[in-house]
Symmetry: C2
Subunit: 214 residues, 2 copies
DNA sequence: TGTACATCAGTGAACGCGCGTTCACTGATGTAC
DNA sequence: TGTACATCAGTGAACGCGCGTTCACTGATGTAC
């Protein structure tokens, strides 16, 4: 039974919250079988509803997938934002927390992660999806700006570039080693350690690590 | 017509090279519609052959996909190896070439790239796939060892870690920005520039950039 | 408070479709003698 | 060189299946008066 309710029986002819139930079902299926192994019909079955019912809420399978991905990006942005916690107590420490949050999201929410990055949806065709992705990136970018704030202007690297570098690094580690559904390759160290070490070395190369800790 | 032959007609009852033709068809289909949008039946149709014919060459769809991915890793390793060119004329320059080759592969061979990294095949279940992936990584690892050779032993970082860092960075950039099939997000600089800058900064942080150029 | 009515959110039957898979078969190819 | 035979690599028909989608329908809910 996928729909909520204490008594274990449908409350009536109407489901009550089918839209949410379909999204939950989609997440379960994507988590189990990857973004390809999820069909409109099976999501309906999971929600305990006829195959025609989902059409009241989503135009087609892609629309449902896009909504899952959008929610994923929003949850992702929230998690990163919470980890950043306005850069307290120090921006470097907070940036490490953001990196951990990135990896934690990939590990704990593999279904969202798949829908966001591997579902084959083109962000250009789904405006809200694109915007939600931008909001998540903006958190990382804001963090990098704060981190660089103490660097003298004449030798301050562009925050945009730094944010792209750290995003790419985090994403690469998450994709290659940090997935929850299947450990892709064994590592001599944890993904978290790998990311933290790389971040430190990179910031050292920028010459901002020491300052950022102060 | 997918099978080779000058006259444009099947040479006879036998295809002659169906195995290759199926792999070519799979690559076309994956390139067009992603790793999910490829079926055994459609690959057969592309090869101009009945739906039952592929079973003479592959146990099932997954076996064909795994073979595509394995070939992808082997081609990938060759490209990286050629780009490295034994570290000539200097290891840093050669390492940049390897990075460019990584991005070029993702852009020019999106079908292979998808099959290798996004097809949902578990490397643990396909030994040859795992081994082929290791051979590709070994090229990068060898490059990092050469790059670090001039660093005094007491402050030399582990080549394994450096290779993992650079692989992750390259893979992240390729996944997020460098795909040939769909430009995922606009960038203020090219993926190549982004990767090259990150590599330089990172190596600077390791304290090996200057030595490596010499 | 009750009633009539509009709207909403489901049902379930039906359809065409393509896929995966099996099967007995047969044309083509290679080889032993 | 010819012939018999084994093996290989295809065919094409058939099957069950699940999916996507449409449709007229109907039970449930909300609201105007």
């Amino acid at each position: 039974m996928s729909w909520s309710g204490k008594d274990g029986g449908r409350r009536g002819y109407h489901h009550g919250n089918l839209r949410e139930a379909l999204i939950t079902a989609a997440l379960e299926l994507i988590g189990q079988k990857g973004p390809a192994g999820f069909t409109f019909a099976e999501a309906a079955r999971h929600a305990g509803v006829s195959a025609a019912a989902p059409y009241r809420h989503f135009r087609d399978r892609d629309a449902l997938m896009a909504d899952v991905a959008r929610r994923g990006f929003e949850l992702f942005a929230q998690r990163l934002e919470a980890a950043w916690d306005q850069g307290r107590p120090a921006s470097l420490e907070a940036l490490h927390r953001v990196g951990h949050a990135y990896l934690a999201f990939a590990r704990e929410e593999p279904a969202y992660f798949s829908a966001m990055f591997e579902s084959g949806l083109s962000a250009s065709q789904h405006r809200e999806l694109h915007e939600a992705g931008d909001r998540a990136f903006a958190v990382l970018r804001g963090a990098c700006e704060a981190l660089l704030a103490n660097v003298p202007a004449e030798r301050r690297p562009p925050a945009m570039m730094v944010a792209l570098h750290i995003w790419s690094l985090s994403h690469g580690i998450a994709s290659l080693f940090g997935r929850g559904d299947q450990a892709r390759r064994p590592l001599p160290m944890s993904p978290e350690e790998l990311l933290e070490a790389a971040t430190l070395i990179y910031l050292d190369g920028l010459g901002v690590a020491q300052r950022a800790t102060g």
